[in-house]
């Protein structure tokens, strides 16, 4: 089958100001079908604001966002039905059980075979035994897995993961990443993935966009970025060192 040449997500010259402060300053990047793009940057770099602009939760000041080759503003609901989002910062509905949450979200996303899909995801993320537990009674790791079930509920073609594994122990993160990679491959979805765990990005991302102070400061594969910053002799990606170098350089400039 011929692969689509059109990017799934195309962000061009995106600008977002909050009063005098420019949070996102002319960012451009794209995600192709089936690609996982690592979206990196220090705290306050503009990653989450960019994600909120893509989701329409924050209105951009300038630039364009095309998703599935459609203008977001004109096709919001249609586009969002084919997308999903997960962040460790936002819980599912606190006082509903895991199953009830997933059932509500499956209706919000207009999932047709929702009961079967919920059962499948609970099984994949190994939380079938927790389906009747309230979200507030779950551990961090269990909540993260329930959140990921919600993120995959509608078989999204584009998934935005904003630090989905934040504050989880390495074992849980490792399992989570394996599951995300597996489903992403099976369902051929495109993913925008942010994290402050650099090995997480090295594990999942084929391409990385690095932003600082609202601007794109580097782009490439993890190995390309490592060679760019650490020297051509680098044999393995080392995004941790790349992150520190780029962040400190950005802070000196500012």
């Amino acid at each position: 089958m011929k692969k689509s040449s059109k990017p799934v997500l195309e962000v061009k010259n995106l600008v977002k100001n909050f009063g005098d402060f420019t949070a996102v300053d002319g960012i451009s990047f794209e995600i192709k079908e089936g690609e996982i793009l690592g979206f990196l940057g220090p705290n306050g770099a503009g990653k989450t604001t960019t994600i909120y602009c893509i989701l329409g939760l924050i209105e951009k000041n300038d630039g364009s966002i095309r998703i599935f080759d459609k203008d977001f503003a004109k096709n919001r609901s249609e586009i969002l039905e084919m997308m999903n989002y997960c962040s460790a910062e936002y819980n599912l509905i606190w006082n509903l059980s895991v199953w009830e949450n997933l059932f509500v979200y499956s209706k919000l996303y207009n999932v047709v075979d929702c009961r079967a899909r919920i059962t499948e995801l609970l099984d994949i993320f190994e939380i079938s035994d927790l389906k009747n537990k309230l979200i507030r009674n779950l551990s961090f790791g269990q909540r993260a897995r329930a959140g990921l079930c919600k993120a995959f509920i509608n078989r999204p073609k584009l998934l935005l993961l904003d630090e989905p594994m934040a504050s989880l122990d390495p074992d849980v993160v490792d399992k989570g990443i394996e599951l995300i990679k597996r489903i992403q491959k099976e369902e051929k979805m495109s993913v925008l993935y942010t994290s402050h765990n650099m090995w997480e990005i090295e594990e999942v991302a084929s391409e990385v966009v690095f932003i600082n102070h609202g601007k794109v400061v580097a782009k490439g594969t993890p190995l390309e970025l490592t060679r760019q910053e650490m020297g051509l002799e680098a044999k393995e990606p080392n995004l941790r060192e790349v992150f520190i170098k780029i962040s400190r350089r950005g802070n000196e400039l500012s």
Partner: protein
């Protein structure tokens, strides 16, 4: 006892009160409104010699609860989404603002139907007050109460959306503030002239004046009904316009994703 640590507790409350003035509502707001309300009720009770007094008070309470529940339910549903950190997940989904509001209002409507039936049975069994004594007009009273509950609830939700969850207590306190001006337990003429002018701009006053007329004369006051309906339609249009405007503002200034 370490007084420095006691001082720390006092300081904590002081700082929180400075940031959240609603924490001081209980100091002056509720007591003042209660005093004003019961002052007017006392004045009314002293003036009248009516066999209908119990019916007037119970009828007023039953109808007031309809408005208060419809109105509060809208703000409370939204506040639950805010408290549970679920606003971002909700609006990151395909749901539109209109669908979100429609679902919220529908739930409130179903809940108030249960409340009305429950209260009607209790009032009839324990207090010998038959809500159907208000005749077919009862349904029309409810229509106006529910419409104003929606308009006022959407107005409050807009304020919470714009200024954040620190205004959450408005969900409960604002309807209470309307009560003395709404002539729930006494006629508008009991109020001072200035308050009377305010009262006629509140649809509730027309509903309760209509209720008293029906209980006394056994007839339905269509004049008051039309006035309440007209005001309700104006307020509904204004509150929906405000909500749409505010939703745009909070998407521009980033407040929508910061609601906690």
């Amino acid at each position: 006892m370490n007084l420095v640590r006691v001082y720390a507790v006092v300081l904590r409350h002081y700082f929180l009160s400075v940031h959240q003035l609603d924490r001081l509502f209980g100091v002056f707001f509720y007591p003042t409104i209660s005093l004003v309300l019961w002052g007017f009720i006392s004045r009314y009770v002293q003036q009248i010699q009516s066999n209908h007094l119990a019916a007037l008070l119970l009828g007023g309470l039953l109808l007031w609860i309809v408005f208060e529940n419809v109105d509060t339910d809208i703000g409370l549903s939204f506040m639950w989404d805010v408290w549970e950190g679920n606003v971002v997940n909700s609006f990151a989904s395909p749901i539109t603002l209109f669908e979100y509001m429609f679902g919220t209002i529908l739930v409130g409507f179903l809940k108030i139907l249960v409340t009305i039936i429950t209260l009607g049975i209790i009032a009839s069994v324990f207090y010998n007050f038959n809500v159907t004594a208000l005749g077919f007009g009862l349904a029309l009273f409810w229509v106006n109460l529910i419409l104003f509950g929606w308009a006022f609830g959407i107005f409050k939700l807009s304020l919470i959306l714009r200024f954040g969850s620190r205004l959450g207590p408005l969900t409960w306190s604002l309807p209470f503030m309307l009560m003395p001006f709404s002539a729930v337990y006494y006629p508008v003429k009991i109020l001072p002239t200035v308050f009377q002018k305010i009262a006629w701009f509140i649809p509730l006053s027309h509903v309760f004046e209509g209720m008293r007329y029906t209980l006394a004369a056994g007839k339905f006051d269509f004049g008051q009904f039309y006035m309440a309906m007209g005001l309700n339609l104006i307020y509904l249009v204004l509150s929906i316009s405000l909500l749409i405007k505010v939703f745009g503002v909070v998407r521009r200034n980033g407040q929508l994703v910061k609601l906690r």
